[in-house]
Amino acid sequence: MNRLFNLPTLITIVAMIILLPIVQRPVVAAEVLTLGIAALALNLLLGYTGLLSFGHAMFFGIGAYCTGILAVKYDFSAFTAIPIAVVVTAVVSWLIGLVCVRRSGLYFIMITLAFNQMFYFIAYSWTSMTGGEDGLPGLRRPSLIADQWSFYIFTVIVFLITVVLMKRFVDSPTGRILQAIRDNPARAAATGYDVERYKLIAFVASGLFTGLAGAIFAFVFEIVPIDKIHLLFSGDILFMTLIGGSASFIGPLIGAAFYTWLQETVSLYWDRWPMVLGIVFALVVLFFRTGIVGMAEVFGQKVFGKRVVKTASAETTEAHR
């Protein structure tokens, strides 16, 4: 029977979960896991389907704001607000997807960015609901998971469930069809698959999980800041996915950890963190496109020798750009 995760992936996940709250404060560790979910979700679209979305902050933000509004304005418990927020995000991503997926890659990128900006403006001006520029404070974690460590464990549980669902999705027939669409959309269509329909499925799956990430995030710092729905944050999520490695399943999680570490470190010494991000981003795009996982693989091959053709087909959900 095929294992769900190969060994390196399993080790990475376990190591992350154990080391993060040791190296960082538990609340930051929880933040990394939520950002990890968002980056993994983006990669469903980018690495697996070959679609570059520049608007994922809108799904993160919708998930976060929905949760925040339900919890703060309408007194919903976290355990009800979060699922509702995920459903809302799924519906929104379906509607936006309907508009986006029928157009070519160029349009797709521009339209996702444009809609992202639209939602940013909604969040900015609907101050009675969203708090506008100042964000939406006042969320309170349920008492069961109120302290740092129990909240971290809650986040770990959500993370693990999410990761298992996502991996099953990419290993499923739909997941493989999406990869085929990435590699050769014309042939995928000629083989009998309605490419637009599948792109829409990928878009909704991606948006849904990103919304979940946002919904959990709202409780990490118990505030929904407006910058998390701004298109610059879409760029941040892309950065995480790329620098981790979009060609592997778990790369984006590594990218989320790296991004958080880099941001914390740089912000200690210099205000202009976005410039450092921009420079590192540019360097990754120019010279390190395969990301950390890609570089680790090359290093591993140099040390352990090039692998012979893989024999277990379950292992080969790895994709290469």
Binding site: S172, T174, I201
Partner: protein, 249 residues
């Protein structure tokens, strides 16, 4: 023997350019019908009308009585139609077996969307993949990344994807284009082996290849049908000789 494919008065115009004008022919079930003509004769445009990549400006194409033209390309496999591509068109980042899985699974699952079970959890599909790979001679490369295959083997993989769903109509677009002599032989050998079991329409411009294996030939010239008949009839046709065969035949 019944008529399987009917091309009825297919025309395709692009902004005033008549790429294909009023092309008609019938293909019997199990026959191998070749469309030939020099470059620019409209063969590829005609082919694209049959595969629904283009919608004909007028006319239609029927297979087993069902209209297959003027649809969206992904609907054709549902009618038992499969095609290969002129420039090898495979899924570079998947393995050979996974490439074939795509068409085999489509046949098996129809339009159902599955997101939970593993892609490799259907034994019937696995069996189809193995059988198809053995038929084209690529079984030993099943788990190799498709991109690592030699050029000629990639072409065979292209066919394997088309063959796996056991289509009733096979549409092959210049199957030997860009291949070496030995690879051309391998491909033609494979196609000959398919005769009778599949209805095949072939686009080609290598004359010697065509003459050996075709049951009937349609010769196109500047978008129109110049002649149609058996290989002997075509060989003897003076207009064809004049326009195309020249000194050769």
């Amino acid at each position: 023997m019944s008529v399987a494919l009917q091309c009825k008065g297919v025309s395709k115009h692009f902004d005033g350019v008549k790429a294909v004008s009023n092309v008609s022919f019938d293909v019997q079930q199990g026959a191998l019908h070749t469309v030939i003509g020099p470059n620019g004769a409209g063969k590829t445009t005609l082919f694209n009308c049959i595969t629904s990549e283009y919608a004909p400006t007028s006319g239609e194409v029927l297979f087993e009585g069902n209209r297959i033209s003027g649809r969206r390309p992904h609907e054709l496999p549902g009618f038992g139609v499969s095609r290969s591509f002129q420039r090898t068109s495979i899924f570079a980042n998947l393995t050979v077996a996974q490439n074939v899985w795509l068409s085999a699974f489509r046949q098996f699952a129809g339009n159902k969307i599955e997101i939970v079970r593993s892609a490799d959890s259907h034994p019937e599909v696995a069996e189809t993949i193995t059988r198809t790979l053995e038929e084209v001679g690529l079984a030993r490369y099943a788990d190799a990344p498709a991109i690592e295959l030699a050029h000629g083997d990639q072409r065979l993989l292209d066919f394997a994807i088309a063959l796996a769903p056991k289509p009733r109509l096979l549409l092959l677009d210049e199957p030997t284009a860009g291949l070496s002599r030995s690879d051309t032989q391998r491909v033609m050998h494979l196609i000959e082996g398919l005769k009778g079991r599949y209805t095949i329409v072939l686009i080609e411009h290598k004359m010697d290849v065509v003459m050996r294996i075709s049951d009937r030939i349609t010769v196109m010239y500047f978008g129109e049908v110049l002649a149609e008949g058996t290989t002997d009839e075509i060989r003897a046709n003076p207009r064809v000789r004049e326009a195309y065969l020249g000194r050769r035949a």
